[in-house]
Amino acid sequence: MLRYIGWRLAQISVTFFLFLTVVFLLFQAMPGDYTKQFIMNPRIPPEARRALQERLGLTGSVWDQYLHYVRNVFTGNLGISFQYYPREVWDVIKERLPRTAVLFLVADLLAFGVGYPLGKYIAWKRGKLSDYAVTVTGVLFYTIFTPLLALILLFVFSNVLGWFRSGGFLTPSVWLRPPVDPQVVFLLLAATIGGILALGGGIFFLTKRIGHPRPRNWARRSLILLLLACAALGWYRSGIGTYAWDIVWHMFLPVLAVTLISFGGTMLLMRDSMLEVIREDYITTAKAKGLPDKVVRDKHAARTALLPTITNFTIGLGFIVSGGIVTETMFSWKGMGLTYLEAVLQQDFPLAMGCLIFTGILVLLLHLVVDVLYAFLDPRISY
């Protein structure tokens, strides 16, 4: 298993280098170097441009520039954003990256939570009306024009239901005299989510040793409930709960949108992969053992069908990221997507480049996570 993960890590590193190179070439291909915006901006003195050029190594040959660039990427030295002058690009990204990461993490987990059971359900009911209805709905959400979806959600939730008044990251009136920085609250939130996931995974693997399924499931369920209760109580007692809640509130619509556009993909993958697994002989054997229909479906068919679903999931990642850019824009959720779009429109190329690189890193990390997960779930990978 470790060897498998190591091998994938090596492959992913190669891909990352290629990616860096392509990004570099892309920005090289632009007319002039990407500090040219500094001339036009009256707020920035000309010496600053020269200094930045020096710092980013934009004066030497292309090859020198490339080496410089790679070194800069690894030291987080990405230059200065011209929109947010004189903030460092890394500083802006540091603020925005967690927002996107959390948005995607939560939405993807939800999308999986919806898509996986639905896919397995409709595959089991193949050819029935519910199969067609759910498939068509799934395809509809998968192919819906994202801005349209956002508009509809805004219309329903703000105009009709009146739950949300504005997009954005927080409600300014709530944060008039905040005891803590919103970013800190957000990072704490992110840490909570990460912690719950990590501990949840830990619980899952520790209880794997309990041989008998009944006490095992019982232990799992109660431990996870305990974990969630602890987290909720912690936030309630912390004194900054209202602030956290405001942020969570603002996350609701973007998370819903990303969930809706991405659950269809998982669901359809799951359905197709289930349909293939159902034909396997071990499914007939499982039925012959007299196992209840649900056990055959969930334990035997779905568990095995999950594997190809996970592998194929990464193929759709680029699509989800694209959807994320649109979603963030529509709901003014200041994550990497919105930042990137603004940077491109304002020709703030150092920031755009930084965003692109870190989006790439995020996607690659996700690939790696998926690979590790796969290695855990498929006993045939033992290397």
């Binding site: 892309l26 192919t143 349209l148 680029g318």
Partner: protein, 315 residues
């Protein structure tokens, strides 16, 4: 001398045509049974109808000065634009007084042109590379597979956003760029896998022994066998291309005069999206059109999937 003739033997092309017709009928049956495929096809036909109807309407009942999708303007309603749907303008007018229905119908043509061109390029490239990778393996294979990984890594829309700072993207350039880029993407992996299953068939070996060149074998034996799958992925690629164009147009990043995405962009930049419930005809028709067309091609793709992939069939 008696002329030599194959009396009673059908010419080869006739036999071929008959076989072809038979397999077409069978495949059409399977496609029909998928139920979602025909639904998609019906929607596509509806859009084709819209596309065909536009020039006819322009030539007969619609006055070009009023109904031209780009430069038209209804003087009779000055000051009331954007006007809600009425008999004269079934879907209303946009902020600068142009007829929405006319824009919608007119844009259908460019959406089809873009989608089909881009998907065609993708599929031609993908099929060729897939076949070559499967046939030769080794370095060629590794190279293209890593390249595909890389292309899949790039969020398309993000890439095109930068690219647009380098070259102006009009409809054809966009189609070309998207087509080429996705041609090197995930599709090569899928088609290569399919080509590998063909490569081990005995007739490939036979063709090799018979002295067929690599190019000949790829062209005559491998490519025809992965064509059905390519055709299927073409449908998915049309969806992708139409979607991407719409998003980029919506952000105002393309050099296109009129498209569904631009229609929403126009509404947004004139500030009419904020109160969207009020001016729904500005965004709902083009938004629905984009969604429906993407949806339709995707459904057709899935319908074809049940034809190509027997394991997905009901029995």
């Amino acid at each position: 001398m008696i002329p030599r003739r194959n009396v009673g033997i059908e010419p080869l092309w006739k036999i071929r045509a008959r076989l072809w017709a038979r397999s077409l009928r069978k495949n059409w049956g399977l496609f029909w049974e998928s139920r979602i495929g025909p639904l998609g096809l019906a929607i596509i036909l509806f859009f084709v109808l819209l596309m065909v109807a536009h020039p006819i309407l322009m030539a007969t009942v619609w006055d070009p000065r009023v109904y031209d999708p780009v430069v038209g303007f209804d003087r009779a309603m000055v000051g009331r634009h954007p006007a809600p749907p009425s008999w004269a303008h079934p879907l209303g007018t946009d902020p600068i007084g142009r007829d929405i229905l006319s824009q919608l119908m007119w844009s259908t043509r460019s959406e089809f042109a873009l989608g089909v061109t881009s998907a065609l390029i993708t599929v031609v490239i993908g099929t060729f590379i897939g076949a070559v990778c499967a046939y030769f393996g080794g370095v060629v294979d590794t190279f293209f597979m890593r390249l595909a990984d890389l292309v899949m890594l790039f969020p398309f829309i993000a890439l095109l956003m930068v690219l647009r700072s380098i070259v102006t993207l009009d409809l054809w350039r966009l189609a070309l760029v998207m087509g080429v880029l996705s041609g090197f993407g995930g599709i090569t992996i899928i088609l290569k896998a399919q080509a590998l299953t063909v490569k081990v068939k005995p007739y490939i070996e036979a063709a090799k022994v018979a002295g067929g060149s690599a190019f000949h074998i790829i062209r005559r034996h491998i490519v025809p066998n992965i064509m059905p799958l390519s055709f299927l992925y073409m449908m998915f690629n049309v969806t992708g291309a139409v979607f991407t164009e719409a998003v980029l147009s919506y952000f105002g990043l393309l050099d296109i005069r009129m498209s569904w995405g631009i229609m929403i962009h126009t509404a947004e930049s004139a500030g009419y999206l904020g109160a969207f419930g009020q001016y729904w005809w500005l965004w709902a028709p083009p938004g629905a059109a984009i969604t429906l067309l993407c949806f339709a091609f995707y459904l057709v793709g899935r319908g074809l999937d049940t034809v190509v992939n027997p394991r997905l069939r009901k029995r």
